[in-house]
């Protein structure tokens, strides 16, 4: 048990230092920037939105929270390990009695913590604005933020994987961003699959199942639909195992990496 406790402490230590790094690198300023933008835009929306300002503020706010979170996770996730490798700060960590995969998991958790804290800050600002405009409490808001968090976790694992696979932060950011787009396009891909002949259908099916299905997690767009009866538990387990898959692949790449 003591050994397990030591190992968990090491992962926690790495994640807390990653969080510290991100905040000292001014990442949290993105959240403040978002808050200011939202307040300015909401004044404009009040005038433009006719009798639907609350709906627009809600949709705009949630979309902007997602956009800024995506920017953070893609940028930080694609750069953080590569930066430590390139400026060699990783040497003095890996020569310590810490397994490489603890380091990677710790960095990943620190990355998620950083982005989640920013999401919470942005959501608080957004909720204050909504309540001031007369919004009534809706549990779906918090469910959509929760599933946004899961989307961010998947993107984070992909960003780290691509950064180790491609060894270039630019290509990693491009691949990750591309997967984020494809993940929202899956229903259209599924529709196309039905129209194709056998061989292209087979390949497209493989691609379809490899790409994460973000329509499961896009609850922001389902507020007001009243058609939400899908099994949340299976979606949650699928998302977590998807993250673990790519984290494991990242660990395999990292275990064989030479410095």
């Amino acid at each position: 048990m003591t050994q397990l406790k030591i190992e968990m402490n090491q992962i926690l230590l790495i994640s807390l230092y990653t969080l510290k790094e991100n905040f000292r690198n001014r990442t949290y300023l993105v959240s403040i920037f978002f808050g200011v933008i939202t307040i300015i835009i909401s004044i404009l929306i009040d005038v433009l939105g006719g009798e639907q300002p609350l709906r627009i503020i809600l949709d705009f706010g949630l979309s902007t929270i997602e956009f800024f979170s995506l920017l953070m996770i893609v940028f930080i996730g694609s750069n953080m390990i590569l930066e430590e490798i390139n400026n060699k700060t990783i040497y003095l960590i890996l020569v310590r009695p810490i397994s490489r995969w603890y380091y990677l998991v710790g960095k990943y958790l620190g990355l998620l913590l950083s982005v989640y804290l920013s999401i919470i800050l942005m959501s608080i600002l957004h909720l204050i604005l909504l309540f001031l405009k007369g919004w009534k409490f809706d549990i779906l808001y918090f469910i959509s933020i929760f599933f946004l968090g899961i989307k961010i976790a998947i993107i984070g694992s992909l960003a780290i994987f691509f950064s180790l696979f491609s060894t270039s932060n630019i290509s990693s950011m491009i691949f990750t961003f591309f997967i984020w787009i494809l993940g929202h396009f899956v229903m259209e891909i599924k529709f196309l699959m039905k129209k194709l002949s056998l061989v292209p259908k087979f390949f497209l099916t493989i691609v379809y199942y490899i790409i994460p299905n973000f329509t499961f997690l896009n609850w922001r767009d389902y507020i007001g639909s009243a058609n939400i009866d899908f099994s949340v538990l299976y979606i949650f387990i699928y998302s977590v195992s998807y993250c673990i898959c790519f984290l494991f692949l990242s660990i395999l790449l990292f275990q064989h990496k030479e410095f």
Binding site: I6, N9, Q10, L13, Y17, K20, E21, R24, N25, N87, K88, T89, Y91, L92, I93, L94, V95, R96, P97, I98, S99, H256, E258, F259
Partner: protein, 242 residues
């Protein structure tokens, strides 16, 4: 004598693929070295002879193509043994957003130091003479301060083996003297020190034995007695030319 580090027939070939072609580059070949407990062993060689490669292979930053490495008779890689090794790189790089104290605290916790961490940090900072500047951010450190911090982090967990890569590289004469005194102090405490250098004058002042590396191969190992008769510089040059 007990062996601290045992390198057996170690070969490292760098392989790189580029546009479908495989490029190879020799790091070290058939390297066999034994470093005894409590001794100071120097690895001497020209630039590109394989000194840093050897050190990285010992530390697990590189993986051998062939051969094996044993630390205290345990086959590497072994994460638990890493707690017994302190590493000081040629140019130490630290997270710039942290202060010196935060760096040492971070590495102390990673190394699972059982003693009081603050006490250990204070002791180490005193040894390297960094007490006044330890609370500054690393981004504000001078080169000399970075070197001291690098040494401090290698000593934090009181390791039995110290691996230094070009420890006197870029130091001023006072810095070189301090480094020499530190190595002698550590030896007096029974530490095993393995370091690489191409500064012959320093190597001959502190080492018990020296290995000469040339183009990835170990040419010879000589002891203090050998360079008392003929200068280490002459032995080194003759070995390289032959």
């Amino acid at each position: 004598m007990d062996t601290a580090i045992k390198i057996c027939d170690l070969t490292k070939i760098y392989r790189k693929r580029h546009l479908g072609r495989l490029y190879t580059n020799l790091g070290v070949r058939n390297l066999s070295i034994e470093v005894y407990k409590g001794e100071v062993f120097g690895l001497l060689g020209l630039n590109g002879s394989g000194k840093t490669t050897t050190i990285k292979l010992i530390l697990g930053l590189l993986f051998p193509t062939e051969g094996s490495i044993y630390i205290f008779d345990k086959l590497m890689p072994d994460k638990k043994i890493m707690n017994n090794i302190g590493y000081f790189p040629e140019i130490p790089y630290f997270q710039r957003f942290l202060t010196g104290e935060e760096i040492l605290r971070f590495y102390s916790k990673l190394s699972c130091i059982r003693e009081d961490i603050q006490q250990r940090i204070n002791e180490t900072v005193k040894i390297v003479n960094l007490k006044q500047d330890i609370n500054k951010k690393v981004s504000e450190f001078s080169k000399g301060m970075l070197q001291r911090l690098g040494i401090a982090q290698s000593l934090l967990h009181n390791p039995d083996i110290l691996v230094f890569d070009e420890p006197v590289s870029g130091l001023d004469p006072l810095g070189i003297l301090e480094m020499r005194n530190l190595i002698l102090l550590l030896r007096s405490k029974g530490k095993t020190i393995f370091f690489s250098s191409h500064v012959i004058s320093e190597v001959e002042k502190v080492c018990d034995r020296v290995g000469i590396l040339h183009k990835g191969e170990l040419i010879k190992i000589i002891s203090q007695n050998d360079w008392k008769q003929k200068s280490l510089e002459q032995i080194f040059i003759d070995s390289i030319k032959n």
